[in-house]
Amino acid sequence: MGDQQPTPVLLFEQVSKWYGPVIGLNQVTLELRGGITGLVGANGAGKSTLLRLATGQLKPSLGRVTVRGVDAWDWRAKALVGYCPDNDAFYEDMPGREFVRAMARLCGFERAEANRRTEAVLERTGMADRADRKLGGYSKGMRQRIKLAQALLNDPGLLVLDEPLSGIDPIGRQEMLELFRGLAAEGKCLLVSSHELEELEKLTDHVAILTRGRIAAVGTVTQIRDMLDDQPLSVRIDAADPRRIAAILVSRPEVVGVDLAAGSSTLVVRAANPRRFFEDFGRLVVTEVLDVTRLEPLDESAHAVLGYLLGGSGKT
């Protein structure tokens, strides 16, 4: 009994979600037990769907999402989660304090408790002295803080933050990062989504990369890089002179095979170390003056992961 692991804070078990004929999330399995986890992916990768499933706003089409063992769709699970959405559509003529208080009542707290918690979270997010202004007059950074404040009201074990740093100036960003680290240090589990891996790397080393509705990789950035180095990748290259390119590439140590169809302008290269291959190939194109019209990795997941690791936004 003593060896039993505690229930995960958030658990996705083979979760799929369809929007009519469109698939938003495809057989995702994810387990979070604490700390800060970054969720990166390009637009349309399924980040928002995953976050909404985690916060019980959506019901999975297939599979199960649980928060501390309770179905995420259940209101008891929602009571354990704080959600800071990406959009900031507020009631513009409502003061920030009133908005947070209304959200506290929505959490089920009675008036006195709601007031106490409202003041506590406003203090914590640095909004206590500005909360009486109407939301319509808030800057982007203040809006983010108010959204974070309402997410903290129920002292959530799991805090889900959708693009929490977008639109915030560098100083404000640093303050928010400090706050997130503080919350994680208290034992809360944070799931933070972002377009940019670079942004998340300042906050956490543990990331999940999402592409086309699938989790392409989970782990620390170093682990993912190592994993990718060991993962062969097929790359399609269209060029005016594919035979010449094939001859050059065959001599490269990271290339393990080249397929070239007779009379075709396309060749498929299998690279053992994709990261090094792309770096080398870029140099070769310039030094050997190669006329390449198309370069496309054939493995979508690896493609996206690689895109992030090379510092892009999921597109190589």
Binding site: T55, Q57, W75, D93, E175, E178, L179
Partner: protein, 320 residues
């Protein structure tokens, strides 16, 4: 401005497992915040003041009628002085209040009062629909609600509760006040003799509440913005009235054509609850469909609204 250091003891939270008041507390919170938003609009207060004027008109009208009937024995009463000097025949005023204005604590009193007040409530709701509900869909604010410990069902109940409060504060509660007032100024027996009227007020008020709440939820989630909402609301409540009058009174078609007017159906249901004889419905020159027919149409509209909302709320996740 720097943030205070993250200290675990700052919030003094109770344990995560501590019982709260459950999702139904959230329903009250949604209704409260919706009403708060509504109360920030000047138009709401202007229309509400108008409804209070109507209430006061009935309140003092009833009082005046009973006072003139019981306390004034003279055939002529002189009021005012100088330019404002008037001679009034109490019998004429009493007749006017009883027969023309129906301020005699009868079914007509409460039926007319709730019909008039309901109309103002309906106008308020036409303008308030986008504030209370439409904006949540328009601006995609639903994640704030739905990420809290409530479900879509509770969200809709909360919004419906806000509408119900507006409707009842303008119809049922003032009507009950008039009922209580009439008993005070007439005789205590009035409460016993006219108990059915009290039940009628409650039933008519409930019908107004349920129907208007559902219709508003449906139109506001469908249209979201104020202008189209007011246009549809006008078509449902004003245009349909003109249409059925033209069809029945001008073209002499079946009175069943009046069933297209939801407002008229609610009025007929109310009169049924008050126990008014169908043959005595006013105006006599306008034949009306049977009470049960109006009730069936009203129930059908409500069922349609519920089915639509059920479908719409399921679609929220796709839309949002």
């Amino acid at each position: 401005m720097s943030l205070p250091p993250a200290t675990p003891q700052l919030l003094h939270y109770r344990a995560l497992t501590s019982p709260r008041l459950g999702p139904w507390q959230g329903v009250k919170a949604i209704a409260r915040s919706s009403l708060l938003l509504l109360s920030r609009r000047k138009l709401f207060w202007v229309l509400y003041a108008f409804s209070i004027l109507i209430f006061l008109f009935y309140f003092f009208g009833q009082y005046l009628m009973v006072f003139l009937e019981n306390r004034v024995s003279e055939a002529m009463v002189r009021t005012g002085g100088g330019l404002f000097n008037r001679t009034i025949r109490p019998e004429f005023v009493t007749k006017l209040l009883r027969d023309a204005m129906h301020m005699d604590g009868s079914a007509d009193t409460f039926g007319d009062f709730m019909w008039t007040e309901g109309y103002i409530a309906m106008v308020i709701l036409a303008f308030a629909g986008s504030i209370i509900i439409g904006n949540d869909f328009q601006h995609n604010s639903l994640p704030f609600y739905l990420s809290k410990p409530i479900s879509r069902r509770h969200y809709l109940f909360g919004k419906a509760l806000a509408v119900a409060v507006v409707v009842n504060f303008m119809t049922t509660i003032p009507a009950i006040s008039l009922f209580v007032e009439y008993g005070f100024i007439d005789t205590w027996d009035y409460y016993i003799d006219s108990f059915r009227l009290l039940l009628g007020i409650l039933a008519y008020g409930a019908a107004l509440t349920v129907t208007l709440s559902l219709l508003l939820l449906v139109t506001a989630t469908w249209l979201r913005r104020t202008v189209p909402l007011v246009m549809v609301w006008t078509a449902v409540f004003i245009l349909s009235r003109t249409v059925h009058r033209w069809l029945v009174d001008q073209l002499m078609l079946s009175p069943r054509w009046r069933l297209v007017d939801i407002w008229n159906n609610m009025y007929l249901f109310g009169q049924w609850c008050f126990g008014t004889d169908h043959d005595l419905l006013r105006p006599r020159s306008q034949p009306q469909p049977a009470y049960w027919e109006a009730t069936v149409v009203m129930v059908a509209v409500c069922v349609f609204c519920v089915l639509y909302l059920r479908r719409r709320v399921r679609a929220v996740e796709v839309v949002s």
